[in-house]
């Protein structure tokens, strides 16, 4: 028992050091691009964990999940950029320097708004299951994107396909994460790039999301969600109000999506409807399913693999592109190889790369 505990502690310490050192090691390659890739991968992990509540716990296949990501991103984009002030005289009068709402306020607001949007979109789908639910949610996801695309006329709210730019970078207690910061201890100095700072911020949110997911899983509400996923009729007969519980799952998942969206907007400092296409929703679902539906370590692995794989393939694919005289573009090849990888994984490990253990705690060795 004590041996087991020390073992766990050692693993934990090594993992913590590894995670903290990772961006610094990647930075040693001389460019920011790898750290950037990891940052984006962490955002996908956040999204996948949020979707896991809807798909993994409650068993509701949501193909429009990226819409909530868009809601969060656009909320921060609108509330922390000159865009609204430029187009509305009233706002210009009130905030001559443009709107610059504190990100933490936007974060809370985005969590609430996305949660409510999640419930509103969830409400009409309550009686639907499986394929039908997937189709409806897919439609809702597209509706949100098309709204963002077209809300530049008659009044310019979202700036249409051009998107919103000049979004404020993230500031944590007066500490601007969009700038370089130099740490010096005696003679030794180290310069933190913005991507590295964002890495730590995203890591913090991922850890928070993991803790939340675990706590939800081992709770009365979490068990009720899983009961609905397993057998809705039996769940109802046990007295579960499946309507409210499903809405709660939609809302909770959307909250995660909205918060990731705020982080995304502050990281990219630019949002446009392009980032929220159907393909993105499909990717997030694929991450959850490929990793191991409903199992948190699996979902994280799935997100990292699917977010990282394209970037790795970008480098590997180069010789192949040259071999075919450029007829096989890197984009095509990437899509092809990812599709292939997914088919292979699903054939060999139909329950995902890292599925939930077969039995409960006492039997797990």
């Amino acid at each position: 028992m004590t041996q087991n505990k020390t073992g766990k502690l050692i693993v934990f310490v090594i993992a913590a050091i590894g995670l903290l050192a990772l961006p610094i090691l990647l930075q040693a390659t001389g460019s920011n691009s790898w750290v950037r890739i990891v940052d984006i991968a962490l955002l996908y992990v956040l999204l996948a964990l949020g979707l896991n509540i809807v798909v993994g716990y409650a068993g509701l296949l949501d193909l429009g999940y990226i819409a909530f990501f868009a809601v969060g991103a656009y909320m921060y984009g609108l509330l922390a950029s000159p865009h609204l002030a430029e187009h509305f005289a009233a706002i210009q009068a009130m905030f001559p320097d443009g709107l610059h709402v504190n990100i933490w306020l936007v974060m809370i607001a985005a969590a609430i708004v996305a949660g409510i949007v999640g419930m509103i979109l969830g409400a009409p789908t309550l009686k639907l299951r499986g394929d039908y639910l997937a189709i409806i949610t897919l439609g809702f996801g597209e509706i949100i994107r098309i709204f963002l695309l077209n809300l530049d006329r008659p009044v310019n709210i979202t700036n249409g396909p051009k998107g919103i730019s000049q979004i404020d970078p993230l500031t944590v207690f007066g500490f601007n994460m969009g700038q370089r910061h130099t740490l010096s201890i005696g003679d030794w100095t180290y310069t933190f790039q913005p991507v590295t700072l964002y890495y730590y911020l995203f890591l913090f949110f991922v850890i928070l999301a993991v803790v939340l997911s675990y706590r939800l899983q081992d709770s009365r509400i979490g068990r009720a969600w899983m009961a609905i996923r397993e057998d809705e009729i039996a769940a109802k007969a046990m007295g579960l109000n499946t309507r409210n519980l499903k809405l709660l799952a939609f809302g909770m998942g959307a909250t995660f999506g909205g918060m990731s969206g705020v982080l995304f907007a502050s990281f990219q400092r630019f949002v446009s409807p392009e980032s929220f296409s159907l393909m993105e929703s499909v990717m997030v679902v694929a991450m959850v399913v490929l990793g191991g539906i409903g199992h948190i370590p699996g979902v994280i692995l799935g997100a990292l693999v699917l977010a990282g794989l394209p970037e790795i393939l970008r480098h590997v694919a180069h010789p192949l592109v040259e071999l075919t005289g450029g007829r096989l573009g890197p984009e095509i090849l990437r899509q092809l190889l990812i599709a292939l990888a997914m088919v292979v994984v699903m054939l060999i490990r139909p329950k995902g790369l890292w599925p939930a253990p077969e039995h409960g705690k006492s039997l797990a060795k």
């Binding site: 979490g222 009720a224 057998d231 109802k236 007969a237 046990m238 006492s362």
Partner: protein, 256 residues
């Protein structure tokens, strides 16, 4: 001395041209095992579904433990105090046996999202209580050793026991078992009988809907026989067995 748990009167239900139930009424006292039998298509399942809120009756009055009771939404039924099992077992297959029973405690507990996220003292206490009660019920039905097994890996008889444990977890006034012996072998049937006997001894009330006449006659305190949606006969098993109408329905008139 005796206390009426369920009083149902004048229940009728029509599906298009078919009168599935006409004026059916039963009264169940605390601690009884009440049998509802009848040939195929007699209306047993329809009655069951009306009682558990799946169908809305055309007429009828219901009273549960002295309080008027309207079976409307399915999820309200368990809250009101009627727990059921299913003819074709419906467990939560990918959840462990223990978790299945813990879900049964849902209606009698109340912690929500905030408690779960913040792990408040109240949440932890309630969670421990849910777990302890679920463990106790698994022991009660005799499958405590499978607590951490996923329920789909249990044998048929044990799945049936688990379903009963899950129903008991809702602290029901009345437990309604829909053909619990269906698909069971002789040994499993004997064990099921012992379990139902045990539950009755603990002063719980059971409504048993069954095909197996032998099981019903051996186990029940009172029996109602349905045929073509009508109440053919009611009484103790011995009375019902002697009733010429019942003999006719089951065996035919004999052709004189």
């Amino acid at each position: 001395m005796s206390e009426t748990i369920l009083k149902v009167a004048n229940v009728s239900k029509r599906f298009g041209g078919l009168q599935a139930l006409s004026d059916v009424g039963i009264t169940i006292e605390r601690g009884q095992v009440y049998g509802l039998i009848g040939p195929n298509g007699a209306g047993k399942t329809t009655f069951f579904n009306v009682l558990t809120g799946l169908y809305t009756p055309d007429s009828g009055s219901f009273e549960l433990a002295g309080k008027p009771y309207t079976p409307t939404a399915v999820h309200e039924v368990a809250k009101a105090g009627i727990a059921r099992t299913f003819q074709n077992i419906r467990l939560f297959p990918e959840m462990t046996a223990l978790e299945n029973v813990m879900v049964g405690r849902h209606v009698r507990t109340r912690s929500g999202l905030i408690g779960a996220v913040l792990r408040t003292g109240a949440f932890k206490r309630e969670e421990a209580e849910i777990k302890a009660r679920a463990q106790e019920l698994l022991e009660y039905v005799g499958i405590a050793r499978f607590a951490d097994y996923k329920s789909r890996t249990l044998s048929y008889g044990d799945q049936r026991r688990l379903e009963i444990a899950r129903a008991l977890a809702t602290d029901p006034q009345l437990i309604a078992l829909d053909e619990p012996a269906a698909g069971m072998n002789a040994t499993e049937k004997v064990q099921l009988r012992e379990l139902i006997d045990q539950i009755r001894k603990d002063n719980r009330t059971i409504l048993l809907i069954e095909h197996d006449v032998k099981l019903v006659m051996g186990l029940c305190d009172r029996v109602t026989v349905l045929d073509y949606g009508k109440q053919l006969s009611s009484g103790t098993p011995a009375e019902v067995q002697r009733d010429p109408k019942v003999i006719e329905a089951y065996l035919g008139t004999g052709g004189g």
